[in-house]
Subunit: 145 residues, 3 copies
């Protein structure tokens, strides 16, 4: 069973590593700007770093959910590759948002695009499995016949 999920697991652990990096950036920014918890407002530079981390955290469960469904029901290697693209895009998003609000836009469009592809792959994979499981209809075989 581990054979079918080890690439997904590797991308998941990498993703956690990236989240840890974002958390550390907020801790450093709190020190630099002198903003102690529980305060979350401050100069725009701080608020941008803070919001970049919050946004990445909100998307993390969504990313994992799609990565795993796409990997299990569509193709593990493809899902893992898209997962790596997503993590790169998230890094660019964080660095861009830290610099200015507008620089977060291009990476957010890119990561959203990757997520929509993962969602489509998941939906297609689950649909294909359900059709062959319940109706006995194997679309792939029909197309290649």
């Amino acid at each position: 069973m581990l054979e079918q999920i080890h690439l997904l697991a590797a991308v998941t652990v990498l993703g956690v590593f990236e989240q840890a990096y974002f958390f550390l950036q907020v801790i450093y920014a709190r020190r630099v700007f002198g903003i102690s918890p529980p305060k979350i407002s401050g100069p725009p530079e701080f608020e941008r770093i803070f919001r970049a981390q919050v946004n990445s955290s909100e998307y993390f469960p969504i990313f994992l959910a799609l990565l795993w469904q796409a990997g299990l029901f569509f193709h593990q290697g493809l899902a893992a590759a898209l997962g790596l693209l997503y993590l790169c895009g998230r890094y660019c998003y964080f660095m861009g948002y830290r610099a200015s609000s507008s620089e977060r836009l291009a990476p957010i469009y890119f990561t959203s695009g990757v997520l929509w592809i993962l969602l489509a792959a998941s939906a297609l994979g689950i649909l294909h499995f359900s059709l062959s499981h319940y109706v006995g209809l194997n679309i792939l075989r029909l197309l290649t016949a």
Copy 2:
């Protein structure tokens, strides 16, 4: 193996779709009320939509965790059905909260109820498995004997 999880996977993907819808609503609200990131405060109408999305995001990993444990250890079909009820309740919550703070209450009680049922199903399922696995005690067989 996919046979035992495809309904859970389908509900998971539907849930991601709903989260995407909530994110888009916040983006539209930011445009309508002219509130650019990283700002998160504004008129109550905006703050209600924003908080509805944040609350839904915070509950999403909890929902997925319970959906999958209940589906794996209790009953996949039942867990998936409860999952659909939860997603409907979340939609009503979002729409209610957008209209007024008090209209979020009924759906939040409903979705909490669904989550407690999923938690109880998960706990019972894991307990049942552990008892038969470690003690060799099969409660279901005892009850029907």
Copy 3:
């Protein structure tokens, strides 16, 4: 298959239970301090409880992701034991933060330490699996030979 995950599932359900407790504490604090949603600012006592819950929610998907990778690829019992330690640390964090900002520090170092151990165990487990799967290199057998 359930045999290899039932301890992880049990810790997951316990973790959800803890999150539910944190959510309820915020609801009680909102009543005590008279802060109605969507407001999230108020006296420091309220903001500390609120931030403690938000922080715990942000870490919850990360915790689950590492718990399951470490349990599947390294050792289920060890991962579950570390998971219990993490949940205890989270409880101390919440109670400490509620009392004062500085009392959250010791538990946050502790829970971070547990997460880094889980991350190391996950990474080692996945690396070990991949080496033996792709290269046919079984490190454990080499070391004990």
